[in-house]
Amino acid sequence: MDKFEKLTGIAAPLPLVNVDTDMIIPKQFLKTIKRTGLGVNLFDEMRYDEQGNEIADFVLNQPAYRQAEILIAGENFGCGSSREHAPWAIRDFGIRCIVAPGFADIFFNNCFKNGILPVVLPQEQVDILMKDAEKGANARMIVDLETQTITTSDGVEIGFDVDPFRKHCLLEGLDDIGLTLEKAPAIAGFEARMAQERPWI
């Protein structure tokens, strides 16, 4: 997994609540058996018309935001399906940090597995970042995972919380499976005990 340390980039404003994973990556793109190449279809039905032409006023189609690396969004971002294609598409587009007042549980977990940092902040602070993001391409934010801060283009610094284990994994680019396999003896011990206590499983 790619490390996430410090990111300086353009933030795109998407002030919608309940952005679901069907919006992020519609089902016709779940037919792939790969993890890559989904960025072009990120937010497909909001981004393109039925003929496949770009819808000019959608945020990621605007010249200022085509290179966005941060997304500022509304409450309950990523609700719905468990499809990891949603963070894959976001990552493939080039976005590495999403800020919102809240995320759906599975989507939130999936982000960390793909080098994306989801940041939860109170609505008032998200509003500050949303306003800053609306300034366009000249307004670059800084997301620093080590210090757990986001700095707006005006120099306003906002702190955020992140789970220490997940922070460690992102900073180091660690692979969960490798970490868990170090605990193989504990897993084997648990299985041996269960073979006695709950043999029907």
Binding site: L30, R83, D163
Partner: protein
Amino acid sequence: MTGKTLYDKIWDAHLVDQAEDGTCLLYIDRHLVHEVTSPQAFEGLRMSGRKVHAPDKTIAVPDHNVPTTEGRENTANMTEESRIQVEALDRNAREFGIHYYPVTDIRQGIVHIVGPEQGWTLPGMTVVCGDSHTATHGAFGALAHGIGTSEVEHVLATQTLIQKKSKNMKVEITGQLPPYVTAKDITLAVIGLTGTAGGTGYVIEYCGQAIRDLSMEGRMTVCNMAIEGGARAGLIAPDEKTFAYVMGRPHAPKGAQWEAALSWWKTLKSDDDAHWDKVVTIRAEDIAPVVTWGTSPEDVLPITGQVPDPSEFQGGKVEAARRSLDYMGLTPGMKLTDIKVDAVFIGSCTNGRIEDLRAAADILRGRKLAPGVRGMVVPGSGLVRAQAEEEGLDTVFKQAGFEWRLAGCSMCLGMNPDQLAPGERCAATSNRNFEGRMGRGGRTHLMSPVMAAAAAVTGHLTDVREFVAETV
């Protein structure tokens, strides 16, 4: 010392390791796998030279992307992309030696219907699947939730999951449901009350008389949509109905193991002095048949209501409601019963079981789809379909003008050719009314099977209670 909730007990019984910061390693008893969210996980195993840790606890079935039309046993009859995913699952199941129900097997169906049907899902288990509706299995008092593909690979490789514990929420439904008010109305009414983010960070335990009175199939419908309320999982404590449902299923324990299992299962309930972080109570008598009007499952109203005005909402929901009404082509103040439908879909992991088909068929018997309305029934599994045919339900549906399909997820997520056309409006027994969910531009109203059946006959959203009173 305070007592424990059912969730606490299942959690403790599966804890392999706990780090100082509270990060836990949880053992997974059953891992269900389907064709859409697993190919990248198997590919990951292959690339790192890893094996499936517990193939005997891993069960695969293609459902999301399979055609529901005849002739699908020949993969040449699938679309190119479906064929690639189904063939990848065939190959992965064979290569890694996991349990498998291919489309040619009568036991094939929607993964969340197949698991309980075959006795893979048992009380007190941890069950995961790369699908958010894994919450369904919570009906058995199993801790069951959806995971992403990276976690699918993690479970395949280690049979564990890295987890942080959720908080405990109790949702109590007191009293008795009125006639024609169903499990679907309960679960939608709860989401209408708490919102789609109301359960975020929680595991919900549903309890109360109305939940106890539900059949196992009704309980699965309730738990299925816990995820739509944002919860990690929904649970219902196992009882005699649970044990009776499980007994004799192909993979349920037998003999002495059954007795041992049963004595443990009987301890699986929340203690009276357990701590709840949040409690929601609803009187069953206050629940009416409900429908959704917008593009979020929280957009729920009793069928007697009217399309709301976005100005009734607050914060970001004002704009969301405006966007929803625009997408749904509805005007504030319109009576819900005046909304005309073009299509009716009966099926899905929410309402694709035999009792759902029976309930819909009871409304449709001797009646016809309204002119211009198309209908599709997609049984949740090959065995549900066979049972329905034995009871003659297929004839009822076909005579009413419905298409009678093979098992799969079908129109619920519209990955296969079963989709709505742009602007087409559907009364659906499924679980998500998101924009484009059932097809680009398609408009979905969620409801129970009896409500969908009534809408099929009248051609508009209909209060099934009035429909029955007027037509008897």
